[in-house]
Amino acid sequence: MIGRPIHELTEAYRRGETTPTAATETYLARIAKLDGELGAYLTVTREQALRAAADSDARYRAGKARGPLDGAPLAYKDVLCTRGVVTTCGSRMLEAFVPPYDATAIERLTAVGAVMLGKGNMDEFAMGSSTEHSAFKPTRNPWDLARVPGGSSGGPAAAVAASLAAGGLGTDTGGSIRQPAAFCGVVGLKPTYGRVSRYGLVAFGSSLDHIGPLARDVTDAALLLQAIAGADARDATCLPAPVPDYAATLAQGVKGLRLGLPDEYFIEGMDAEVERAVRAAVDVLRGLGAAVERISLPATPHALATYYVIAPAEASSNLARYDGVKYGLRVAGAKDLVEMSSRTRAAGFGAEVKRRIMLGTYVLSAGYYEAYYGRAQKVRTLVRRDFDAAFGRVDLIVAPVTPNVAFKHGEKEDPLAMYLNDIFAVPADMAGLPAISVPCGFSAAGLPIGLQFIGRALDEASVLRAAYAYEQATPWRERRPSLG
């Protein structure tokens, strides 16, 4: 059952063909064998996983399983707090930090019986698009170990792709679920902002941070979202809207759906193979009965620059708390508090994190606020207005996730070149809209390509439904990387 989606695995539990413990042991064995090379995990919670699996076994034996995620072996990005389990955010700063609380999303998955295999690798504090900025080790792309898995949720995305987990949770602030999903050939869903509680998600850009599933297929993404979505009294920005039954509408097809294809998402310099695959996917959707029309989202070229004002500004604020006083790293031997904090932060943060803290501090500092942060918030309004206008005409937007396939380790040394990788992912974060990445083919070199659907606020159901229709009509999900 290794490598099968969660819904098939738990169906096998129900039929008694295998057990949560057997599956968990197999996954743990696979991690032990392959993760040295892959680097998808920062922490493997073996004992805890086996205990949870044994509890799940008992529930299945008693006919009291808690639904389709009971016994599902999952990888959680290490930016999500886990009670009693070290939560590092991929940073030296939090190398030994043990939270006394669980993230709401994890608490909810635990409540429906999911089994945590471990904490997934990531770019430090979720800042990056390659998982090369993890302070501990890079994660490799299961399809080509010389290449990056994308980021910042590269660990859990690679784990799912390489069958080192049946599914997982990532976070997306500027594409960090969808871009690694595209690079690794798995499904990644970024829900509407506020659909999933951020409580226990270590903040990067608070107004842009989203938690969402990384999954083998669209059905699993729907099941995982179902479990984690919904109001939470601990997050004031979490929406009180009821959560629909996503699985129930998955198979409704795209017939009659109006899809918009934005001109601005096909740019000069993008990978021809990516463009070809996306346009071919659009043809498939047309063939399935969707109406496709060209649309324009004119503020798109400004979204990335806007993102690189807002996200670093919020990050510089959110990361101010790491000062060596209450938790985390503290360097020894400083003669006073300012020196202790400044040296702790110098030693605890990597280059990318420092860069963003500096950038964010600069754009908020006296004399620059209006020129940068104030203006960026207004441009953010323009990005939202584009989407509002588009959704007056179409039900979903269909687009590429990235301009290119997975690149080689060390290939994007220039920070700006790395940032440009998220140019198609960032607008949905800025507007807080639900967006999914679903595999839509492979490059000649055998690297996965992702197709993006962006929906109206809170309309994850349509996003999932279109992705499902496309997935079921194409063979991509059956292909596996040749590992172990």
């Binding site: 506020g194 209450k326 938790y327 006073d336 508090l337 932060r345 500096m358 600069y362």
Partner: protein
């Protein structure tokens, strides 16, 4: 052109409580300058009369009732402390110039 100087970088680093080595300082200056040059493209946009968006969520008045919830156990809250004296967090001398 933003024209970020070494002094700008030092000032920002001090605000951000980051100690930068000399080589780091120059790299940082060059990178910030290049990123801010990219960001400066926003300046061509006319945003007069545009309302700022600080939240993508249309919520207001999310509040909780004034009810006491038990605090976390003291030892759990002190467990991650890099330095402590009994039940208190300990920090080095606060004033910068030594007594």
């Amino acid at each position: 052109m933003p024209g970020i100087t070494r002094e700008d970088v030092l000032h920002i680093a001090r605000l951000a409580r980051l100690e930068l080595s000399d080589p780091e300082l120059e790299t940082m200056r060059a990178q910030l300058d290049s990123i801010l040059t990219y960001i400066d493209r926003l300046k061509v946009l006319d945003v007069t009369g545009v309302e700022p968006t600080s939240h993508a969520v249309p919520l207001v008045n999310v509040m909780r009732d004034d009810e006491v919830v038990p605090s976390f156990p003291q030892d759990e809250m002190l467990r991650n402390a890099p330095d402590r004296v009994g039940e208190l967090f300990r920090v080095p001398r606060i004033l910068e110039d030594s007594a």
